[in-house]
Symmetry: C2
Subunit: 234 residues, 2 copies
């Protein structure tokens, strides 16, 4: 190729910058997820407000990354590993933006929950939340370090999140049936749990992207075990 | 520019091909949404199975479009309108893929609903479904014709979908409170309605993309009226 060495070097730096920006965006999203669970569990309206505000930053970062990805593809015409790194950055930033959005949606429920529902409802959600934050953390580590094994482990772990969700779903349904006064708050919690489950799905997407980035091959889209039972397949 | 006329012509054709593929994908997605509502309303397991199968085709189309978008950006380095058309095709295909997924998730609930719940629950969902299908249809028309006005109308119409969703949400909650035996099926319907509302959000995204594609300007992300009341902000 007729390129000057310094051009190649600049391109390498450009790609490094891109992936470090994605990693930073990941850090922001991770904090939003951890905080939104705290906001709901502690019914902390101030924390919820700060999450809603900080999510805007995540949105801005996604747009910035998108612009740079387009410029890189247009001007550098990356091939093989470089193309994969560029596409992975784009897709992962999109998943992170969605994760930020879901955290924001969870935070918004704090407001509605501020009334007076039994603490019993929040325990399961808190456990599930910690699990999801852990997977997101591991997945982002795998992205930064390029550790495929970690990515596969995090990818597999999503089953556990789904199991948690399904058992929480049944538990919340039981509460509702036992006491109609709990229907409204249980429904809110159902949506919080559903959003956490969707955050888990986005972690899975990111783990798949890390695998594709490092190995050039896609992980099987359909896991061997059904992702969730039919009581709630959405 | 030092390009041969036939090169420019080939590029124009490439872009036309791209947008006609997106339009075709839109047609498939639209049919999935219309059918999934029928599957739930009529508890039609066969229709549900066909939807789940046809959604795979939508997924394949998204990947094909993505590959071609990357190739176009790399080889043609499109500018201005051409770049917008390329990016719009990419983003719209992504929204259509999500719409297909959500239709599939709705179809899957048919299985669980096959038992014996009162028809009363399905009426509201059917109405909401028709509304969403109509908006998707109008939005895709706007994409094909480049009619910005139609896109803006469809974009505004999402508020109506959200209002429908909110009133359905309250209605379903009332059923649950009145009769605990309806909690399980009402919860399923709640998720069906939620998925329809999310399909509406993706229509909004597409309408925004059409606006950007035609005018080069973005529609205001935050609508003047809150998108949904706090009883369900997810």
């Amino acid at each position: 190729m007729n390129v000057q060495p310094h051009t190649v070097k600049a391109f390498g730096e450009e790609l490094n910058q891109l992936s470090s920006d994605v990693a930073r965006m990941g850090g922001l999203a991770e904090a939003l997820v951890a905080d939104c669970i705290q906001a709901v569990v502690r019914r902390d309206g101030d924390l919820a407000a700060s999450i809603i505000d900080r999510d805007k930053q995540v949105d801005v970062m996604e747009r910035e990354i998108e612009k740079r990805v387009i410029r890189i593809i247009a001007l550098r015409q990356p091939m093989a590993t470089d193309l994969r790194a560029t596409i992975a950055a784009y897709r992962i930033s999109h998943d992170l933006e969605r994760i930020g959005d879901l955290a924001k949606n969870i935070a918004r429920r704090t407001h509605v929950l501020n009334e007076s529902e039994p603490v019993v409802l929040t325990r399961g959600v808190e456990r599930m939340g910690k699990l999801v934050v852990g997977h997101l953390h591991d997945t982002l580590n795998a992205y930064s370090s390029g550790a495929v094994d970690e990515a596969v482990t995090a990818w597999r772990a999503d089953e556990e999140v789904d199991e948690h969700y399904n058992s929480l779903f049944r538990e919340l349904l039981t509460y509702m049936m036992e006491d109609p006064r709990m229907i409204s708050s249980s429904t809110q919690m159902l949506f919080v749990a559903k959003n956490l489950e969707r955050i888990g799905d986005h972690c899975t997407n990111i783990a798949e992207m890390v695998h594709y980035l490092v190995t050039g091959e896609e992980l099987h889209r359909a896991p061997p075990v059904p992702k969730s039972d039919l009581s709630d397949p959405a």
